[in-house]
C-alpha cells in the first residue's frame, strides 16, 4: 500500500486514525468532527487524500460539501475553487483554508491536527 504524506511545516499532535479510505467516496469528502472544529477529508480520483479545515476562506462555506475535481474542490456556496494540497484559493480569488497533514497506511486514513 502506498503512503502519501504531506506536511504544512508546523504540526503539533500525533497521527489520529479517522477511518478507512473506503469510508470516503471517490471524488468526495467526509467531515471529521474534532476538538479543533470540523475538518474535511477529501479523496480524489487517484485515491490521494487531503485534509482542510471545513471552512471556505471566502464566506466560511463547508468545503466538504463541494464538488471535487483533480486536486481541487469547488466551494458549494459561491463556487470558489480551493486547492486541496495547500488550501489556497485559485486566482484571481485570494484566501487560504488551513490544511492538515494526512496519510494513508494499509487502507487507513490518519490525520494530524
Amino acid at each position: 500500500m502506498n503512503t502519501i504524506t504531506r506536511s504544512p511545516g508546523t504540526c503539533l499532535g500525533t497521527w489520529i486514525r479517522v477511518g478507512a479510505i473506503d469510508d470516503i467516496p471517490r471524488l468526495g469528502a467526509r467531515v471529521v468532527k474534532s476538538a479543533h472544529g470540523d475538518v474535511a477529508v477529501f479523496r480524489n480520483a487517484e485515491d490521494e487524500v487531503f485534509a482542510l479545515r471545513d471552512k471556505c476562506p471566502h464566506k466560511g462555506g463547508p468545503l466538504s460539501q463541494g464538488i471535487v475535481f483533480g486536486r481541487h474542490v469547488a466551494c458549494p456556496l459561491h463556487n470558489w475553487t480551493i486547492g486541496l494540497e495547500d488550501g489556497n484559493a485559485a486566482a484571481p480569488d485570494e484566501g487560504c483554508a488551513e490544511f492538515y497533514p494526512v496519510k494513508v497506511e494499509d487502507g487507513m486514513v490518519y490525520l494530524r491536527l
Partner: protein, 831 residues
C-alpha cells in the same frame, strides 16, 4: 524529447497571446525565442489613449513584463528588428546580426501607420500614433507646444485628438470625408459624435484634403512643422501634426522572404484557416495577416486567430479560424457608440430606427430576411452585445421584431436601478447589486489587470457573476474601456468550460451517437483536457447522460451539486432547508401536524411559506435530514434540484365564483405526472382556473390558464432575475391534452436545452416557431416525445422515501448500520 525551436517575430498582443495559448495546452513542446523591435515587452496597445490622456503610465498597461518571458523560459530579444528570413537554412536574422534558427516560425509583425505621401511628411513634429514611442513623443510635444492638427477623423485620430485635448492642446481634426468615422458610423450617428466632441472643445474641418505640411518659412525640408495646407488653399497653424489616416499590414519581411502576400492595396501575409502561410513551417497572426482577403485591425479577431494558431502549433490540429464579423464599440470620449456589420443599408434591407434628438439616443438596426445584418447605436448601447450575438448567430428575429428595438432588457430587469448608459454613470455608482461592485472598481480592474473579456471581468471583480442581470452594463463598461478589443463570447460555439473545446451540443450529440454511459467514457472519447473535469462540466455531463439514456446511464452523485446529492438546499451557515411536496399546493391536517411535530422534535429554527405554495423548514442539520424525511412521511419537493419544482394553482371552479375550470385538480395531475423529472434547470408550473390568472401562470416555465372552452398553454415565462412573460403555445380542450402537450414541451426541453438553460433561454435561442413545429404541428413527434418522458420517469424513485426506508430497516439509533451511500453522505466521522 528534444524540444522544437519556435521563433516569433514581433512582440505585440496577437503574438504573445498565441504564446500564452500555446503554453496553456503544450507547455513543453517548444523552445521559444521572441524578437521585438520595440525596447519594451508586451503592453496593452488598446490603452495607449489613457496613457496619452495622462490617466495611466506604461507600467500600468504592461501585459507581460520581461519576468513573464523568463518564467516561461522564453528567450527575448528586445529592440532587435528582424530584417531577413532565410527559409532555406530556416534562420531569421536581426538588424544587429543576431541569428536564430527555427523549426516553426511565427510572424506577428503587426501593422504600420499609413503616411500620406505629401511634402513635409518628414518634418519634426509630424507623428503617427501606433506605439508607446509615438505616445511619449505626443506627450512631450503637448508640454511644449499649443496647437495640434490630427489628420484623419477615424477611431485612432479621434482618440489622439481627445488625448491631446486633455493634455491642454488646441486640437483640430481634419477629415477627408463628409462625416467622421465613415467606416463605422452613418451620417446621423457621426453628427451626434461630432457635436458631443465639439462640446468638449475639439474643432473639426471636414471634407478637407491635406496637401502639404508646412515647415520653416524658407521651405527647407527640415526643422519643425508650423502648419498644414489644404487643397482649397486654406492654411492652418500647428506645431504638432498627427497622421492617423489608417494602417497597413506590415508584410515587408514576409514579402522579402518570398512568402505570398495579398497583392492588393490592403496587403497582408496570406494565411489559411489554420493560420499557416504558403510556407507551412511559417505561421502568421495578427494585424499583419490577410485572411480570406481581409486584414483585421481590431483585437478581438486577433485573439481568435491566436487561439487557432496555438492549437495547430501544439499539434492538436483542431480548430479553424473562419473570419470574424467585427463590431466596434468606441471608447473615445464618454459617449457610447456602437456599430456592427452593414450599418448603412440598401435596397434589400429593412431599417428599424429610433432617434431621440433631445435625449441623445440614436439606434438603427438593419434587417435582411428576418435577420439582423448590422446596426449603429449612439447614447444607449446597453443592448449592443445582444444585437451582435443575434447578428453573429444569424438568429431569426421575426418573433421578437416588434420589441427588438427596445432591447433585451427593456423591462423586468432588476438590481441596477434601471441604468442603461454606462458612460453616464459615475464611478461610485453600483453596477452589480448582487456583489456590490461599482463602476470604478470594474474600470480599475480592466485597466490594472489587462482584462479583455466578460469572463475575465467576472472572475476578477465578480460583477455580473451571480444573477447576471447587469451583464449588459458590464459589457458596456468593458467595451468603453477597451474599445474594439472587446467581442462578446460567441454564443453558438461557446465551449462547455475550460476542460474542453467542445460545446454542450457536441457533447450531447456524442453521448447519443456513441451510446456513451459514463462521465469518464465521455471524457475519454472527447479527449477532455482535465482528468475528471470540473465543477462546471461534470454536473452537465451527468445530466446529459441520464437524460439521454434513462435506466441505462448511472447517476453519479459526486458529479451533482451538494443540494442534489443531499436532497436539500444548503444554506449560508451549512445547514439545509427541507421543502416537502404538496401536490397542487393542497395540504391537510395530518400533514401539517406532522410538519409541526418535526419542527419541534428537531428544533428547526425557521418555518416559512414559500412563493410556490409550500412550506420551507430552514436550518436543519445535515445529519438530521434522513430522520426528518422519515418522520415527515411526505414526498420530496425537489426544491433543491434542477427538476420539476412546484405546480402553483388557484382554487378554481371547485370554490371560486369566477372559476371556469378545476385548476387545482389540473395542477395536482400535472404535478403527479411530472414530479421526479430532472431537467436542465428548475422547472416551475402554474395553473389558473380563469383568465384572472391568480396563480400567475404568465411568468412560469409552463403556465396553464383555464377558459370556458378549455385550457390555454403558455411557455417559457420567468419570474426571476429578469421577468419574462410566457408566450402563448396553444389552446386545448381537455385535461389529458394539457398533460400531453406540456409533457412533449418538457421532454423537448430536456433533450435539447443546454444544462442550466431555463426554458426561457432555450426558447429564445431556438425560437418559438421551432417549438411549435415540434410540439404542435408534428402530432407523431409529440406523442413520441411524451412517450419518452413517461419512459424516463417510469420507476423513478422519491429520493427521500428511498433514504428514509434504508434508515427504517436499520433502526433509528443513529445511522451506524445504514447503507454506504447514506453513511457517506449524512454521517460525520469523529476523532
Amino acid at each position: 524529447m528534444k524540444k522544437m525551436k519556435l521563433v516569433m517575430v514581433g512582440n505585440g498582443m496577437a503574438g504573445v497571446r498565441t504564446l500564452e495559448e500555446l503554453l496553456k495546452i503544450a507547455p513543453d513542446l517548444y523552445d521559444i525565442t521572441v524578437f521585438g523591435a520595440e525596447p519594451h515587452a508586451n503592453y496593452n496597445r488598446i490603452l495607449l489613449s489613457p496613457v496619452l490622456a495622462g490617466e495611466l503610465t506604461l507600467k500600468d498597461i504592461m501585459l507581460n513584463d520581461v519576468d513573464w518571458y523568463a518564467q516561461n523560459g522564453i528567450r527575448l530579444h528586445l529592440g532587435k528588428k528582424v530584417i531577413r528570413i532565410d527559409r532555406r537554412t530556416r534562420t531569421v536574422i536581426a538588424e544587429d546580426g543576431t541569428e536564430e534558427r527555427y523549426e516553426r516560425l511565427l510572424l506577428a509583425t503587426g501593422s504600420d501607420p499609413f503616411i500620406l505621401p505629401i511634402p513635409g511628411k518628414d518634418l519634426d513634429g509630424v507623428l503617427t500614433y501606433r506605439d508607446i514611442g509615438d505616445t511619449n513623443a505626443m506627450i512631450e510635444a503637448a508640454s511644449k507646444y499649443r496647437r495640434a492638427v490630427v489628420v484623419g477623423g477615424g477611431l485612432l485620430g479621434l482618440e489622439a485628438a481627445n488625448g491631446l485635448k486633455l493634455r491642454g492642446m488646441d486640437v483640430t481634426v481634419v477629415h477627408l470625408m463628409e462625416w467622421l468615422m465613415e467606416r463605422q458610423l452613418d451620417q446621423t450617428a457621426a453628427g451626434m459624435l461630432k457635436a458631443s466632441l465639439e462640446q468638449k472643445g475639439l474643432k473639426f474641418l471636414l471634407q478637407k484634403q491635406t496637401t502639404a505640411i508646412l515647415g520653416t518659412p524658407d521651405g527647407r525640408p527640415d526643422g519643425r512643422v508650423r502648419g498644414v495646407s489644404f487643397a482649397d488653399g486654406q492654411e492652418i497653424p500647428a506645431e504638432l501634426v498627427v497622421m492617423a489616416v489608417g494602417i497597413r499590414p506590415n508584410d515587408e519581411l514576409a514579402k522579402s522572404a518570398g512568402i505570398h502576400c495579398h497583392p492588393g492595396r490592403s496587403g497582408g501575409i496570406v494565411v489559411n484557416d489554420t493560420m499557416q502561410t504558403y510556407d507551412p513551417r511559417i505561421y502568421a497572426v495578427g494585424e499583419c495577416v490577410s485572411h480570406r482577403g481581409i486584414a483585421y485591425g481590431l483585437v478581438a479577431p486577433l485573439f481568435e486567430m491566436a487561439k487557432v494558431c496555438a492549437n495547430h502549433l501544439a499539434e492538436l490540429g483542431i480548430g479553424r479560424y473562419q473570419g470574424s464579423v467585427t463590431s466596434t464599440k468606441l471608447k473615445v470620449t464618454g459617449i457610447d457608440l456602437y456599430s456592427a456589420g452593414n450599418f448603412i443599408g440598401g435596397a434589400d434591407t429593412e431599417e428599424i430606427l429610433l432617434h431621440d434628438t433631445v435625449g441623445g439616443v440614436y439606434k438603427k438596426l438593419l434587417i435582411k430576411e428576418d435577420r439582423i445584418v448590422g446596426g449603429v447605436m449612439v447614447g444607449d448601447t446597453v443592448d449592443s452585445s445582444w444585437y451582435y450575438q443575434l447578428l453573429r448567430d444569424k438568429q431569426n428575429i421575426s418573433d421578437i421584431r416588434d420589441h427588438l428595438m427596445f432591447g433585451q432588457s427593456h423591462l423586468g430587469n432588476s438590481g441596477h436601478q434601471g441604468q442603461n448608459k454606462a458612460a453616464a454613470m459615475p464611478d461610485e455608482m453600483e453596477v452589480c447589486g448582487c456583489n456590490g461592485v461599482c463602476k470604478g472598481t470594474i474600470v480599475r480592474a480592466i485597466k490594472g489587470q489587462g482584462l479583455f473579456s466578460l469572463e475575465d471581468v467576472r472572475r476578477h471583480t465578480k460583477a455580473s457573476s451571480s444573477c447576471g442581470s447587469c451583464t449588459g452594463l458590464v459589457e458596456q463598461i468593458l467595451a468603453s474601456t477597451v474599445g474594439g478589443a472587446y467581442a462578446p463570447q460567441q454564443n453558438a460555439n461557446k465551449p462547455m468550460c475550460g476542460c474542453t473545446d467542445y460545446t454542450h451540443e457536441e457533447a450531447r450529440k456524442v453521448i447519443r451517437e456513441q451510446h456513451l454511459l459514463t462521465i469518464p467514457g465521455v471524457m475519454r472519447f472527447m479527449e477532455w483536457r482535465t482528468p475528471n473535469g470540473c465543477a462546471s462540466c461534470r454536473p452537465a455531463l451527468n445530466y446529459y447522460l441520464i437524460s439521454t439514456w434513462p435506466h441505462e446511464a448511472k447517476d453519479d452523485p459526486q458529479s451533482r451539486f451538494i443540494n442534489e446529492r443531499a436532497h436539500a438546499n444548503i444554506q449560508k451557515d451549512g445547514t439545509f432547508s427541507v421543502v416537502p411536496r404538496m401536490f397542487g399546493g393542497v395540504t391537510n391536517a395530518q400533514q401539517l401536524r406532522r410538519i409541526a411535530d418535526v419542527v419541534d422534535k428537531y428544533a428547526i429554527p425557521t418555518v416559512k411559506v414559500t412563493g410556490g405554495q409550500r412550506i420551507d423548514l430552514l436550518g436543519v442539520k445535515k445529519e438530521d435530514l434522513p430522520k426528518v424525511w422519515a418522520d415527515l412521511a411526505m414526498p420530496s419537493g425537489h426544491a433543491y434540484a434542477k427538476a420539476l419544482r412546484t405546480v402553483k394553482t388557484c382554487v378554481g371552479s371547485e370554490w371560486c365564483r369566477f372559476g371556469v375550470q378545476d385548476s387545482t385538480q389540473m395542477g395536482i395531475d400535472l404535478e403527479q405526472t411530472f414530479w421526479k423529472m430532472y431537467a436542465p434547470h428548475k422547472v416551475k408550473l402554474a395553473v389558473s382556473g380563469c383568465p384572472r390568472n391568480c396563480a400567475e401562470s404568465g411568468i412560469k416555465d409552463i403556465g396553464v390558464i383555464g377558459v370556458d372552452s378549455g385550457w390555454e398553454i403558455y411557455v417559457a415565462g420567468n419570474g426571476g432575475i429578469k421577468t419574462e412573460v410566457a408566450q402563448f403555445l396553444c389552446k386545448v380542450k381537455s385535461a389529458p391534452e394539457v398533460l400531453e402537450y406540456t409533457g412533449a414541451f418538457l421532454q423537448l426541453y430536456r433533450e435539447e436545452a443546454r444544462y442550466l438553460d431555463r426554458t426561457v433561454h432555450w426558447v429564445a435561442r431556438v425560437g418559438l416557431d421551432y417549438v411549435k413545429q415540434r410540439v404542435l404541428e408534428d402530432a407523431e413527434g409529440r406523442n413520441a416525445l411524451y412517450a419518452r418522458l413517461q419512459y424516463a420517469l417510469q420507476g423513478e424513485k422519491d429520493p427521500w422515501a428511498e433514504r428514509a426506508a434504508t434508515l427504517g430497516t436499520l433502526g433509528t439509533l443513529g445511522m451506524s448500520g445504514a447503507s454506504g451511500a447514506l453513511r457517506h453522505e449524512f454521517e460525520a466521522l469523529t476523532v
